[in-house]
Each structure stands twice: as structure tokens, then as C-alpha cells.
């Protein structure tokens, strides 16, 4: 059905009968009106019996189709595009190598003007062409691992990314690895890679764009420039997320993978370091470290621990929360639960029985706060103290999402609940802050 994408009902029948497909030049007769132009694909949202054509002046309009409508194909000689600009990549010698791994999102894309379709594109040539600065920064290699919306990313994908990254670091002489990622779950993946790729020799940088790359104003270009510059030259060797610091195309900040969260649906500065500041910043083409507390390049050996166990749930407590949900997880043989509790780390007393049942069944139950900012402290109120005595483990200021990912990873390393508890409480990849900034 590709050739008549999106069309249904009577319209589809009339188009088929006329032997027309999308991108054909057509004429539509309806009563005294005649419309002429290129048949465009129909997006699913539109009304059923409308067809969309691009008029000679470039505008699209929808034409309502009735049983009286006549459609005919018009043979038009295609004019070759006169404006095609030849593009040559000038590879500069002696530049550090950077590897870009594509997983999805449209950090780079091309628009097909005829239909307006946007295609993601991640060849080195396309990158150099849309962001010429890159060719002066590094020698770039690219590989598309998969191409999915980030909401479709699962722990299995995290493993794939981790293994591929480890392989690149082992086999290629690269100064850094960049992972292009859709932004919705980029924070989770950053966290996952922080645990799966320990002691990396180079920066591993996730990058995305909040404003789609089919617009000249996209943040993709500067984010990518920041990522490439850091991958090639920055002194830190950690998993980070590189995104805009603010709405201006001025500074890119590098957030530690375990401390970063998407906090806005659309703004360029959606990604924020929680309970800490970013570890570095690129401004005016320079990378500036914002902390002394970071892993240096070349320290230690990479350890790959790519396994995750998905049988962990993240539960947000809310007034009216039904503890049956916990019981259901026990039945489903879940291994662990991370609670996003209220305030300093609480859930309603009426959940205690279910939580006790979970702990008694061998599940690891841990507590984080839905306040996002700040740390939990379960010794202040009775509820907290009761939960502690039920065996709930307090995860201080660890982000709920990071805690979920970490528990999945921990169960990927061991099925022993006691060992998992130990891992959860240990600061492995900067997921705990020593002190919270004023």
C-alpha cells in the first residue's frame, strides 16, 4: 500500500482506478473546480475522504472527494534538479578519531521537498555536509546500530549499545564514542551505559536534539559539535549526555549519565543535572571542566557488564495507590521494586502489608523520592522508620530512573537479593551525591 500511503475508502478506490500513485502529477475534476498538482501521501490524522495535492506554487491543499470526483493522471516531464550542489568531504590529516553510533532520533536528517518526508541520515558525508565544522574537529566514523524512537528502547537495546561501544573501544583507535539517541529515554540509556561500561578509557557521549533536525533552527548541530569536541579532546572519560545549557545556541553542557533527567517536554535545555552540576561545558569552542571530581582519560581498564534483568518495576506512589499492584508484581515473579515515594521517602501505611509480603517473597524493595530534587531521609518520620524496618532500602538522592536501571543491571549481575542490595547502596558510577549543593 506504499504507493497510496494513507488513503482509504472511496478516495483510495478512485485513485486506484485512475492508476495513480503518490508523487504522480494528477488533475482532479469536481463539479466546476479543477485542481492540478502532485499527489501527496496522506497522513493518518486527516479526514477520510480528502486527498492532498501540491499545487504548482508549492502549497499543499486538501480536496474533498465525492463519487462525482474524477481523477486523472497527467504525464509531465520531470525536470532534473538544476541546483544540485556537489559536495566533497575534505578529510584533514592528523585529527583525532571519533565514532558516532546511531540508535535513533533525528540528529541528522534530510527533507524530501517533493513530499515533505523527513529521512534520518547518519553517513559521515551527510554529517559533514550539514555541519561543516565537524570535519575540522575530528575524523568521524559512523555506524547505524538501530533506528528506533527512544520510547521503543528496552534494556535489550542498552545491552546492544554497551557491547557495540566496548567493541569499538577495543578495535578502533578512537578518542571517544558518541551515541545519537532520541531524547525521550536518553537519560535511562545514559544511566544504563554508566553501569554497563565501567572505567571507560574515553568519553562516551549521548547526544540528541529537542527541536527536530528538519528545521534550520534545530539544536542538533551545536549539540553534535559539542559532543564531537568533547569526544575528541575533553579530559573526562565518563558516560555523559551533551545538550544545550539554555535556549541560546551558546553553550553545551555535559551531564553525568547517572544524574541526568529530561525535565521539559520541548525546550532545548530539557536535560538537567539533578542534585549536582554538569561535569563540563563547551562555550566558545572550548571545553571547560566544572568540577574536579571526574574520571580522567586513560585511567584503568574498561569493564563491560552489559546484562540487565527487566523484572524490576518503578512504582510511583500517589494518594489512592492500590497495593494490589505490588501483590501482582510478586505473582509475576518480579525481582525488585523501586518506589518513587512522597517527600523524604514515604508511602501510605495501607501499603505496608503488601510491601512486607514482597520483601518476604525475596523481592528487593528500594525507595527514592518523586520530588526529583533532594535526598530521601527515612529516619525523620515514623512512616520512614517503619518502612526501613520492613526492609525497604533507602537510595538517598539517587534519581528514581537511575535506581530502576541500576536495579535491573544489578539483577543482571547476580540473582542474590542480598548482593543486589549491596550493589544498590554502593556508589558505582556517581549515582550518589556526597553533598547536595546549596
Amino acid at each position: 500500500m506504499e504507493s497510496l500511503q494513507g488513503y482509504r475508502g472511496l478516495t483510495l478506490k478512485l485513485l486506484r482506478d485512475a492508476g495513480v500513485k503518490v508523487r504522480d502529477h494528477i488533475r482532479v475534476y469536481r463539479g466546476e473546480d479543477v485542481f492540478e498538482g502532485i499527489l501527496m501521501p496522506r497522513i493518518e490524522l486527516g479526514e477520510k475522504e480528502n486527498l492532498v495535492i501540491k499545487l504548482a506554487n508549492g502549497y499543499n491543499v486538501g480536496v474533498r472527494v465525492t463519487s462525482q470526483t474524477k481523477i486523472e493522471k497527467v504525464e509531465v516531464e520531470e525536470k532534473p534538479n538544476q541546483n544540485h550542489v556537489e559536495f566533497k568531504v575534505e578529510e584533514k590529516e592528523g585529527l583525532p578519531e571519533v565514532y558516532i553510533l546511531g540508535t535513533g532520533g533525528t540528529i541528522a536528517s534530510r527533507v524530501e521537498y517533493r513530499t515533505g518526508a523527513v529521512y534520518p541520515s547518519l553517513t559521515t558525508e551527510d554529517l559533514y555536509r550539514s555541519i561543516p565544522e565537524l570535519s575540522n574537529l575530528a575524523k568521524i566514523k559512523t555506524k547505524v546500530l538501530f533506528n528506533i524512537f527512544s520510547e521503543n528502547m528496552t534494556p535489550k537495546h542498552w545491552s546492544e549499545i554497551a557491547k557495540t561501544t566496548a567493541k569499538i573501544l577495543e578495535e578502533e583507535k578512537v578518542n571517544g564514542v558518541i551515541i545519537a539517541h532520541g531524547t525521550d529515554t536518553m537519560g535511562y540509556t545514559a544511566s544504563a551505559l554508566s553501569f554497563a561500561l565501567q572505567n571507560p578509557p574515553t568519553p562516551i557521549i549521548l547526544v540528541g536534539s529537542q527541536r527536530s533536525s528538519d528545521r534550520p533552527s534545530s539544536d542538533a548541530a551545536l549539540n553534535l559539535i559539542g559532543a564531537v569536541r568533547a569526544a575528541a579532546y575533553a579530559p573526562f572519560a565518563e558516560v555523559t549526555v551533551a545538550m544545550h545549557e539554555w535556549v541560546a545556541d551558546e553553550a553545551i553542557v555535559f551531564h553525568r549519565g547517572t544524574k541526568v533527567r529530561k525535565c521539559h517536554t520541548s525546550r532545548r535545555d530539557a536535560f538537567q543535572s539533578i542534585n549536582t552540576k554538569p561535569i563540563a561545558k563547551m562555550v566558545e569552542n572550548k571545553i571547560v571542566m566544572l568540577t574536579e571530581d571526574y574520571r580522567r582519560r586513560g585511567e584503568g581498564e574498561l569493564t563491560l557488564k552489559p546484562d540487565f534483568d527487566e523484572r524490576v518495576a518503578l512504582l510511583k506512589f500517589y494518594p489512592g495507590f492500590n497495593p494490589q499492584i505490588v501483590e501482582w508484581l510478586i505473582e509475576q515473579k518480579y525481582l525488585g521494586i523501586v518506589f518513587e515515594g512522597t517527600g523524604l521517602g514515604h508511602v501510605g501505611k495501607y501499603c505496608f502489608d503488601s510491601i512486607k509480603k514482597a520483601v518476604d517473597s525475596g523481592l528487593v524493595v528500594a525507595m527514592t523520592s518523586q520530588c526529583i530534587w533532594g535526598s530521601i531521609r527515612m529516619t525523620v518520620y515514623d512512616t520512614g522508620r517503619d518502612l526501613l524496618s520492613l526492609g525497604v532500602i533507602p537510595l538517598k538522592d539517587m534519581l528514581p530512573e537511575t535506581a530502576l536501571v541500576k536495579m535491573m543491571w544489578s539483577f543482571g549481575q547476580t540473582k542474590n537479593p542480598e548482593k543486589v542490595k549491596e550493589l544498590m547502596l554502593k556508589n558505582i558510577a556517581g549515582e550518589y551525591s556526597e553533598r547536595l549543593p546549596l
Binding site: I43, V61, V63, S130, P216, D249, T265, S266
Partner: protein, 631 residues
């Protein structure tokens, strides 16, 4: 007198009017400009995506390559995440759609069945996204002017661009308040055949749009683009004609310019100039100007520049040919040099010696270049690269002159002349705005637009005359003025209708002519003044003074009243003035009792004008004179 039909003049119009809707086209910000200092300032860079690079008009690409930084200024009242491109657009404003549908009905145009919003790539920064959102609401139609039918091509809704508030070599500064205000665009077919006709059609379309009651008034709310061509000439797009009564002049001048350029072409051919004789051979003649008295050149040299010169064979005398007032052929070369080289301007031998450049210097340059007889030379002083780019553009422009009139986009100046703006872009680069779903136009929407459609303009005139007992002239002026809504409100607050009408038309117009920035005033500001008059707190005569002060200072009506001392005097206060004046003039009044009333009125009014109604003063004067036995 030019015979326009003989030269095959064809003019098409694109009339843009800002709509006075409650919200912007794609968000819920108000459709007004901000007088405040910016609260948020941020920089951006726009990058055309790769597949667009080949499609750009050279000028836009050139601008982009210069790597100019764009600075946006915003305030929270008039801009949100949508204008700053930090959030996807909201749905298309249906109030604007309704107005466009009404315009379509009035112009016999057919609404489309479904509106598809498109993106039109614009990379000068005037749109934060890098594109302008635009959509066709209706197709076809016509209007009749003086018995002739003029076809309409399209009726579109589009976003207004951000307001440019500053520019230098490195950065362009825009204010976001105007971005997203709905614009209605009516495009006619290129069937207009004289300058007068162009103006009349524009006026007629303007009237039709105004009769929807939803268009904004004031400078900047109206913009006309003209497409002008003559046989053998070229299609020239003139952008940004702000005044309706400039249209015929712009067309006349443009025709004149094209005819002159054709004459220049013929003369160049007669002189036997061939394209290959126009060479990009630039000579460094800096040495000639080491001791120059020309301030421009000296400053350029001090800043590390050079003087480059090029020979333009067989062009002598043509560079000074006037194409239209204040625009010589040499100016066209200079405009190109400025645009492509970023230089301040050029010198050419048709105008030298002048500007501190001596005959000796000119001769030296001529001899270096080998300029003789009918040749001329062009000189540029600037950084080597800029000077080179400038001269390249000059040579290219002369090459074009050999062919006739180059297609280009020109911008209109306030005197009706035009200047080079950029090359004409190729076919519009439009692609779908995928963030906004298509909007089906239902029969119900069209019916609703029809039901609420204001009557034709003539009926509106008669309606006003009948309802408010004002004369036809005032009623027509009122409808032309876009102040109809305000007029009704003024009458509601107790101002006599004929006074409100003349104040809003004649008085406002004369203030505008005086250069008073009345566009700074909101409807509320003006209404406040009417309220003061209606409540008797000031006299009708103070209207103009109060409005002028408010427009210039940004102050409010009450403040103006205080500052200007235009509060209405109480009858007692008038009596005090009259008594004082009577005493001062007692001798004269006693000696000339028959002229006493007129004389006393005159001296009292001179003092209280704007603060007391003449009617009240007359009463007091009469009483006072009789009390003192002067009759």
C-alpha cells in the same frame, strides 16, 4: 506619458494585512507589539539542512555563509515558547481562519476543503524556526474595479516575521513580539496594466479586508508586494510598500527604470561591448592614493585596506544615467558591491573627480587600468577580500546590463523608488509543517463566516450615516480609517458622534502627517481621552494636544491632562478669568460697548482654550458684561 499597453506592463499584487485577532496564529500570545525593554535575550544560529543547500537563493546562502549571529529579544507578555521555537506550534488560530474565509467570500474566492500549513524556508533569522508558516485558505476569485474584473489567485494566512531592531556586521537583532501575528495575504493575477489601476485594485482589496472588521491599523500593519514586468524587461518583485498611495509611483518608477536599462543595453550593444570584454581583472592602485585627500579612502587604508580598481570597457557616461530619481546606473553597481562585498560603496569615473579624489589620482588610475575613450573605471577601498567581492559583483552587474534587466527582488523606499534587495528566489521552497494537523474546512465553518459577514462597504457607510447622523464624508473616512470599533465605543462614553468621527479621521490623520507617532497609542489610550471629553473633564478642543503628548511620551490620558493643564475649568473658575480680563480691558470695553462681547470673548478664549467650552464662556461673559452695565 508612457503608453503602458504598448510596453506590455503587467502588475500583480500581494496585499498583506495584519489581523487584529485575540491571539497569534499558532499560540495564545496577544497580537500586539511591546514597548517594554526586553526581558530575555538569546543568540541563535540557523542552518539550512543539507538537502536545502542547493536550493537556496544565492543571497540567503551568502548571508548564511557570513555566519551572522542572530540575537533575539523577547518579553514574557508578548512571546512564549512557541515564538522562541522552544515548543511546537499550537493549532491554527480559528479566529484568523474565519476572517480569511470572510475575505474569501467577499472576493468570490473558493475556500479549500482542507488547510495544510506549510513551511517556507527563510534563513535571515526573521523566523526563529528558520521557516515561515503559511497556508492557502482559498483559491481563485475576483474583484471588480471601475467595471474591470481582476482575478485573485490565492488567499493565504501566514505568520508575521520578527521585528528587526538592530544590525551590524556580525549580528542581526530581532524582537520576537511581532513574530506569529496573523497576516492575511491576497494575491492577484498579474493582469493589472497601469500604475493607477494597481493603486485602485490595492485600495479596493484593502477596503474589502477592512470591512471584515478584523484587520489592524497603523504603520507596519499593512504591506504590499508588487510583481512588475514589461515586455523585454524582467519580472521584478518589489517588497514592502507600506503606503497605498505609493503604489502607482512605485510602478511608474520601476517601468522607467526598466526602460532606461533597456536603453543602456541598446547603447552598450551599439558600442560593441561583448561579454568576454568584461573581465574580473582587479588592479591594486593603493599607491596612487597614499597621500589622498579623500576621507573615505584614507580611513579604509588606515584600517588596513587596499584600493582596488577595475576597468569597465565602453561604459563611459552610462554610469551616470538616471534610472529613476536618485538612482543612477552607477548606484545599481554600488548596491551590488555593498550587498556582495559588504563595502561602504564604490567610486566610478562618471562621477570623478569628487569626494576628495583629484583629477590627478583619477588619471593615474586610468593609466594603470588602460582606461581610454569610452571606458570607465570603478574603485573600491576596503579589506582586500571585501573589495574583491565588491568588484566581482560590479562586473557581474554590467554583464547583466548587456542582457537587459536582471530579475531581482527590490525593496521599496518611502519616496516610491526602489533599491536592490537580493536576487529573486527560485520556486518557493515549501514543505509541510508536520507539527500542525491539517484543518478541514467544514460547510458549517463557511456558513458561520457567511452569517457573521459584515455588509458591503457601501451599506456600512449608509448604516453609519443613518445610525449616528453623520455626513457621508465622515462615514466614509471612518470606514477607511479602521477606527470603526473605537468610534462606536467613543459614542458610548458620551462623545458627540460627529466630533468622534472627525477626531478619529481628520485630526488623527493631520497628527500623523505632522509626524506624531499615533501608532504608539492603543485603542484604550484613545478611548481614555474620549472618556475625559465625554465626562466633561476636558474640552473637545484638547483632543489633539492630549493625543500628541501621549503618543510622544507614552504617558496616559489622565497624566496628560494634569501635565498639560487641560482640565476643564469650573464655571466659577471661568468667572474668575472673565472678571480679571474685564478689569484689564475696562477702558476699551466702556468705550466700545457694541464690540465688548466679541472682544472679551477673544481675550478670555485665548487663555482658556481647551479648558472651557466656548458655549460656557459666552454665557459667563454675557452675564458679567450685564452685571457691569456694559451692553
Amino acid at each position: 506619458m508612457v503608453d503602458y499597453s504598448r510596453i506590455g506592463l503587467k502588475v500583480g499584487l500581494e496585499i498583506h494585512r495584519q489581523l487584529d485577532t485575540k491571539h497569534k496564529l499558532f499560540c495564545s500570545c496577544p497580537t500586539k507589539l511591546s514597548q517594554k525593554k526586553p526581558e530575555i535575550v538569546f543568540v541563535r544560529r540557523l542552518r539550512p539542512t543539507q538537502s536545502e543547500l542547493g536550493q537556496f537563493d544565492p543571497a540567503a546562502l551568502f548571508e548564511f555563509k557570513k555566519g551572522k549571529i542572530i540575537v533575539y529579544e523577547a518579553d514574557r507578555e508578548t512571546s512564549c515558547l512557541v515564538e522562541s521555537d522552544e515548543e511546537p506550534p499550537h493549532n491554527l488560530n480559528l479566529e484568523a481562519v474565519k476572517t480569511a474565509l470572510q475575505a474569501a467570500l467577499l472576493l468570490n474566492s473558493k475556500p479549500v476543503d482542507e488547510i495544510h500549513v506549510m513551511r517556507k524556508i527563510v534563513i535571515d533569522g526573521s523566523n526563529t524556526c528558520g521557516f515561515q508558516r503559511t497556508c492557502i485558505v482559498a483559491l481563485g476569485g475576483f474583484l471588480e474595479v471601475d467595471g474591470k474584473r481582476f482575478p485573485i489567485q490565492t488567499i493565504c494566512l501566514e505568520e508575521d516575521a520578527a521585528r528587526k531592531v538592530g544590525e551590524d556586521e556580525k549580528r542581526t537583532v530581532y524582537r520576537l513580539d511581532r513574530l506569529g501575528i496573523p497576516l492575511i495575504e491576497v494575491a492577484t493575477a498579474p493582469t493589472i496594466s497601469t500604475p493607477e489601476e494597481a493603486e485602485k485594485v490595492a485600495l479596493a482589496i484593502g477596503k474589502i479586508l477592512r470591512s471584515t472588521g478584523k484587520v489592524k491599523r497603523g504603520i507596519g500593519s499593512i504591506r504590499q508586494d508588487l510583481n512588475i514586468s514589461i515586455r523585454d524587461g524582467a519580472l521584478i518583485e518589489v517588497k514592502g510598500v507600506q503606503e497605498l498611495n505609493l503604489i502607482s509611483k512605485v510602478v511608474e518608477y520601476e517601468v522607467q527604470r526598466q526602460l532606461k536599462l533597456l536603453e543602456i543595453r541598446d547603447e552598450l550593444k551599439k558600442r560593441g561591448l561583448r561579454e568576454e570584454e568584461l573581465k574580473e581583472e582587479f588592479y591594486d592602485v593603493t599607491e596612487v592614493f597614499r597621500e589622498t585627500k579623500s576621507g573615505i579612502i584614507r580611513r579604509a587604508l588606515e584600517a588596513g585596506g587596499v584600493v582596488l580598481a577595475v576597468k569597465l570597457p565602453k561604459t563611459a557616461g552610462l554610469l551616470k544615467v538616471e534610472l529613476e530619481p536618485k538612482l543612477r546606473f552607477g548606484t545599481e553597481l554600488s548596491d551590488r558591491a555593498v550587498f556582495y562585498g559588504g563595502v561602504g560603496g564604490i567610486f566610478h569615473t562618471d562621477e570623478l573627480p569628487a569626494y576628495g579624489i583629484t583629477q590627478t589620482e583619477v588619471e593615474k588610475v586610468k593609466s594603470i587600468l588602460g582606461v581610454s575613450g569610452l571606458d570607465s573605471a570603478v574603485i573600491v577601498a576596503d579589506k582586500p577580500e571585501k573589495a574583491g567581492d565588491a568588484l566581482k559583483a560590479v562586473v557581474e552587474r554590467v554583464r547583466e546590463a548587456l542582457k537587459g534587466v536582471p530579475e531581482e527582488t527590490r525593496s521599496a523606499k518611502p519616496d516610491g523608488t526602489t533599491r536592490y534587495m537580493r536576487p529573486r528566489p527560485g520556486a518557493a521552497r515549501l514543505y509541510p509543517e508536520t507539527d500542525v494537523p491539517p484543518i478541514p474546512i467544514s460547510l458549517g465553518m463557511v456558513e458561520e463566516a457567511k452569517k457573521t459577514l459584515p455588509p458591503p462597504i457601501d451599506k456600512q457607510v449608509e448604516g453609519l450615516m443613518g445610525e449616528f447622523k453623520i455626513n457621508r464624508k465622515l462615514a466614509e473616512q471612518l470606514l477607511d480609517s479602521d477606527y470603526q470599533g473605537l468610534f462606536r465605543r467613543a459614542v458610548e462614553v458620551g462623545v458627540p458622534p460627529s466630533f468622534a468621527a472627525s477626531a478619529l479621521t481628520e485630526t488623527m490623520k493631520s497628527l500623523e502627517r505632522k509626524g506624531v507617532p499615533v501608532e504608539n497609542l492603543s485603542d484604550e489610550d484613545i478611548l481614555d481621552v474620549f472618556r475625559l471629553i465625554g465626562e466633561g473633564k476636558t474640552a473637545k478642543e484638547s483632543f489633539s494636544t492630549l493625543i500628541e503628548w501621549m503618543a510622544k511620551t507614552g504617558g496616559k490620558a489622565l497624566e496628560a491632562l494634569e501635565r498639560l493643564g487641560l482640565k476643564t475649568l469650573t464655571t466659577h473658575e471661568v468667572e474668575v478669568v472673565v472678571e480679571r480680563k474685564l478689569l484689564e480691558n475696562m477702558d476699551y470695553l466702556r468705550q466700545n460697548p457694541s464690540r465688548a462681547f466679541n472682544h472679551l470673548m477673544k481675550v478670555v478664549m485665548a487663555e482658556v482654550r481647551g479648558r472651557a467650552e466656548a458655549r460656557v464662556v459666552a454665557e459667563v461673559v454675557r452675564g458679567c458684561l450685564s452685571r457691569h452695565g456694559i451692553t
